[in-house]
């Protein structure tokens, strides 16, 4: 059973908590006990109360790219200019990207295969073809690749921002404190509330951390109809041998808590049918929903989302609609905030 509800727009987090006068770990925490359905409302920096020595927190350490670039079609006549939102790097080094025309209809400025786009500092890209899976995305090949391209993306790009933010916040606000390898179009935001002090305090208490990388794609294709369909994007991920070992060990000693649904996706993709996680690198299209039987994860830290309006309802794999409904019904009048700088929900 899928349950529906609407989070009012005023509950969008317009500013990062640090700009609301609190620390990033002082956002609110809604705890729903997976076994009993018991609900508690607390503050995120008290999360240790709900974790036990032996538990393992698994984070997605993918770093957010400044994935929004401005380019113009290169043609004899002055071509249209557009925002290029990088979505995903493909195995052959090309990229999938959402192209949004600056003037008029965002998709109406003659976007087509073969088009050449010029950016600043000599960067250029050729539009190859539409993506077969998500037709709002185009495959692009840049004029440079590898580290050189990463360097230029960081010189030219801005973080992808949506209309609900109150100011053009710097990229720094769109990073978790533990981010390492660049590659996500948007921040894997469930872990944004963690500070290093909290992580180190938890470690002293016997609650260890492990890291996977899953380069998160776009959360919206700026097309309501397409966004409602939740097309399963393909995302690049990496689970190291060290992380796989820690997770398999934690299975014996405590709970495996995924910090974010991107972590669930990576771990479930790297787990065999017995729930043993292996070192693995690749791309995943795995869908996590209420039909999915979890093998490698026991608990989840995530945000509050409208189940039918944004992501596929990955929380449904952890908790049926029954216990979630009253929790969400309590969260709305208490004004829990959503989106990337939001309050969070622990399902241990």
């Amino acid at each position: 059973m899928v349950f529906t509800f609407v989070l009012p727009p005023e509950l969008s987090a317009k500013e990062p908590p640090e700009r609301r006068g609190i620390r990033r770990d002082q956002v609110r925490l809604l705890v729903i006990d997976r076994a009993t359905g018991h609900i508690e409302h607390t503050r995120f920096d008290k999360i240790d109360k709900y974790l036990r020595p032996g538990d393992l927190l698994v984070f997605n350490s993918s770093r957010t790219l400044p994935a929004s670039l401005r380019g113009c079609e290169c043609s004899a006549a002055h071509g249209p200019c557009m925002e290029v939102r990088l979505a995903e790097r493909l195995p052959d080094g090309s990229w999938l990207a959402l192209l949004l025309c600056e003037q008029g209809d965002p998709f109406g400025c003659g976007l087509r295969a073969g088009m050449q786009i010029e950016f600043a500092e000599g960067l250029a890209a050729t539009v190859l073809e539409r993506d077969a899976n998500i037709p709002r995305l185009w495959q692009l090949r840049f004029s440079i690749s590898g580290t050189e391209l990463v360097d230029l993306i960081y010189r030219l790009g801005k973080p992808i921002r949506y209309e609900y933010v109150s100011a053009p916040w710097d990229l720094d606000y769109y990073q978790t404190v533990y981010a390492t390898e660049p590659g996500s179009a948007e921040m894997p935001s469930a872990g944004r509330a963690f500070t290093w002090k909290l992580l180190l305090d938890l470690k002293r208490r016997g609650i260890d951390s492990a890291y996977v990388v899953l380069h998160a794609g776009l959360s919206s294709y700026m097309d309501d109809e397409l966004d409602r369909q939740h097309p399963a994007s393909e995302e690049e991920y990496f689970v190291s041998r060290t992380t796989a070992g820690k997770i398999n060990q934690a299975r014996e000693n405590g709970g495996r808590i995924a910090v974010g649904t991107t972590v669930v996706r990576a771990l479930e993709s790297a787990a065999d049918s017995d729930g043993c996680v292996h070192e693995k690198q690749g791309y995943t299209r795995l869908t996590i929903d209420s039909q999915h039987r979890l093998k490698a994860v026991d608990g989840l830290l995530t945000g509050l989302h409208e189940p039918e309006a944004s992501h596929p309802d990955r929380r449904g794999a952890f908790l049926s609609a029954g216990p979630r409904r009253p929790a969400y019904e309590e969260a709305v009048p208490r004004k829990y905030l959503q989106h990337e700088c939001r309050d969070v929900n622990l399902i241990p």
């Binding site: 960081y154 390492t180 390898e181 660049p182 290093w196 951390s209």
Partner: protein, 260 residues
């Protein structure tokens, strides 16, 4: 086995002077990968070519950037970690500026110049550590901040530079204590008087032939970058003094204190 086998290392201010010498020495000592950062691409590329002559297999990336700009810091770390596949073992905060030359008295310092020096010598290292730390904390690592005796003594005329180094030494102590159990060690090194372009600009009246060649002060950096210094954190080193004996002496004293 070489001392720095398998190490992934980021050095700022790597295009000349001590930074250049560290790049060459680290490569000789077996570093797996080097990320060399400086403001001038041509000089950096020359250092890269020298490194590759010594160690053709070293994975090397050069990044033209200004550590006084926070946007550049994000790019330095992202580009380095893209090249190094997300890991980093050693960060050397070596880049610094003396500010206006000849160096004015504090009374004559403009606030703009004062801020520029602090942005490069203090805020830059702070942001680099903050951004690079996630890549070090899982595997352990070493942060080395390059300081000066002007960071301990208020010499007249060394104005913002000296103050920035006082700040860097204080910041290093705080990082070291906050990261004590993390596996990341933080130490700082005073290389002493060296015959570098920066020092010649700072003291144009002095005879630079009396100063050390930067190539001769790199031993302590090899020690701190290598696993030989595991467990050594929160310490100040003077590269031109007998730092190894002092370290052994301190270690002996700590051992004796524990016995008591």
């Amino acid at each position: 086995m070489s001392k720095l086998d398998g190490k992934d290392i980021l050095i700022t201010g790597a295009s000349q002077g001590l930074g250049r010498e560290m790049a060459l020495r680290f490569a000789r000592e077996g570093a797996r990968a080097l990320s060399l950062v400086a403001r001038h691409a041509d000089k950096l590329n020359a250092v890269r070519d020298e490194v590759l002559k010594i160690a053709p297999k070293v994975d090397i990336v050069t990044i033209e950037a200004d550590v006084s700009k926070s946007r550049d810091i994000e790019r330095i770390v992202a580009t380095t970690l893209a090249q190094f596949k997300g890991g980093l073992d050693v960060l050397v905060n070596n880049a610094s500026t003396i500010g206006p030359s000849p160096m004015p008295y504090l009374l004559d310092y403009s606030v703009e110049n004062f801020r520029e020096v602090l942005d490069t010598n203090l805020i830059g290292p702070f942001l680099l550590i903050k951004n690079a730390l996630p890549a070090m904390i899982e595997r352990g690592g070493s942060i080395i901040n390059v300081t000066s005796d002007a960071g301990q003594v208020g010499y007249p005329g060394w104005g913002a530079y000296g103050i920035s180094k006082f700040g860097l030494e204080g910041m290093s102590q705080t990082w070291a204590s906050e990261l004590e159990e993390s596996g990341v060690r933080v130490n700082w090194v005073d290389p002493g008087n060296m015959n570098t372009a920066m020092h010649r600009a700072a003291e144009p009246e002095e005879d630079p032939s009396e100063w050390a060649n930067p190539a001769d002060v790199t031993d302590v950096f090899i020690f701190l970058a290598s696993d030989e210094s595991k467990g050594v954190t929160g310490k100040r080193f003077q590269a031109q003094e007998d730092w190894r004996s002092e370290l052994n002496h301190e270690g002996h004293e700590e051992h004796e204190a524990k016995k008591i």
